[in-house]
Symmetry: C2
DNA sequence: CGGTCCATTGATCTGCCTCAATTAACGTGG
DNA sequence: CCACGTTAATTGAGGCAGATCAATGGACCG
């Protein structure tokens, strides 16, 4: 992964000085750990010493429910923080699991916290990342109450857009290293119905999905059936800001 | 409402100096506006100049969907911010509506932002408020996929606990100034099914709900059927912290 | 008292779940 | 490189939780 993945993401919101950029680059390259697929990066109840940042691969924010089933509440892709909130809340109220093999940077949370205190730009950029996560979550609440076809279409649009914003969409094609069972856990549906819904989307010519590769021939059309509007992702907020 | 509602809430997380307390008290009492029930406090797409803080009454975070229906994504009770994120993200991606007549403080966002920059404690306390909102939202995602009885029981437990934390539960009783239609919009169910579900809860002796007053004879029992565990609300995080 | 909003009840319908079995893809060791 | 076990995806049949449609009853209010 490029060393400046996080820099690039945060710059989408707040302008960073060269100094700040190199600090971030340094922090995200010092302590890197890899996790195999299906392993826990952070467990529910943990009090991690580090803030974990996904550098490569996909992970999921999840909770085990009373009946033993698992609910996924977010997909994490490169550039996403697993537990930025741990600088403020002390204990994880959910777990983070690697969906594919993951390369994860472990940032010293005390140092990050300190750094953010000194650097207003950085604080705001981290706030921004948190608030966008929250906006995504609101959309998941909405999605959960919508018909399967629209919900899945919307989810795929979200993932497409986020992958695109970090340069991981080439030629309308992106890697989607998740099983249908995991998509089911993320949408609150059964794997059986996810399978049927994906087939509906395929038959409608809206997606091509084989192996773990997703091709979206017409993103507008998929957005239409999903009722997707990317404004809630607040992308390139900083660029717009500077243009004014 | 007591002038120190927000102070009391934030102190639950971070210790505040007398100086900070009086600053907050001043800010939350300078510019107060009241909104009638069913009116918009902030509309989708707005770029408010103020950060809005609910002082009295209930409000809801909502979005109008493509089919014209409305989805509620959060209930706001006294002490809750409507749009704290507006200091970072510029535009609302959803609306805020008064459910009952609301008294709302309008805080100058530039001044609040400035104040937070100088006062580390305050920054952290505001972060905490945001992160708790996010944790609540995660629980709503989970709830949306669960059977109606459990989902509604859980929602009532959440509201009970939050109202309790700001001293608005007396004798296991609290005001719930929402219609069943609004509960339906918050749970993704129909008003008809909300009505039937509430009756199930009543028949099970878990709640007494008439007019807009909720009485919970046995909170443990209700928590049991809702699968409710309040740890995700991260209440009195600061107190615990100080005890260590 | 008459209108409006809200809650309730009944009957019917359907999207998604459940259960169960088959096929395809994948990795692993012989 | 093929045989085999394992995991993932697909297909079918039947059931149910919750939606929909429609009507009634109750509370509040001018």
């Amino acid at each position: 992964m490029e060393p400046n993945l996080l820099v690039r993401k945060l710059e989408g919101y707040a302008p960073l000085s060269d100094d700040e950029k190199s600090l971030i680059e340094k922090m995200t390259s010092e302590n890197i750990k890899t996790y195999p697929a299906k392993s826990d990066i952070i467990a529910d109840g943990d009090r991690p010493d580090f803030v974990h940042l996904v550098l490569d691969g996909w992970a999921a924010r999840y909770k085990i429910l009373h009946d033993g089933s698992r609910r996924i509440m977010a997909f994490l892709i490169p550039g996403d923080f697993c537990d930025l909130h741990i600088t403020v809340l002390r204990q994880m109220d959910h777990g983070i699991m690697a969906l594919s093999p993951c390369k994860v940077a472990r940032l010293d949370s005390a140092r990050l916290s300190e750094l953010a205190t000194e650097r207003t730009n950085l604080t705001k950029a981290l706030w921004w990342a948190t608030l966008v996560d929250e906006a995504v979550l609101r959309q998941w609440v909405i999605n959960a109450g919508r018909p399967a076809l629209a919900a899945v279409a919307h989810l795929l649009c979200e993932l497409h857009q986020r992958m695109k914003s970090i340069g991981l969409v080439t030629d309308r094609q992106l890697e989607l290293p998740v099983t249908q069972a995991e998509l089911a856990e993320a949408t609150g549906m059964t794997p059986v119905h996810i399978s049927r819904t994906l087939q509906n989307l395929r038959q409608a010519g809206l997606i091509e999905l084989r192996a773990h590769s997703l091709f979206i021939p017409d993103i507008e059309a998929l957005a239409e059936t999903g009722g997707f509007d990317d404004s809630y992702l607040h992308l390139r907020e900083g660029e717009k800001r500077r243009q004014e």
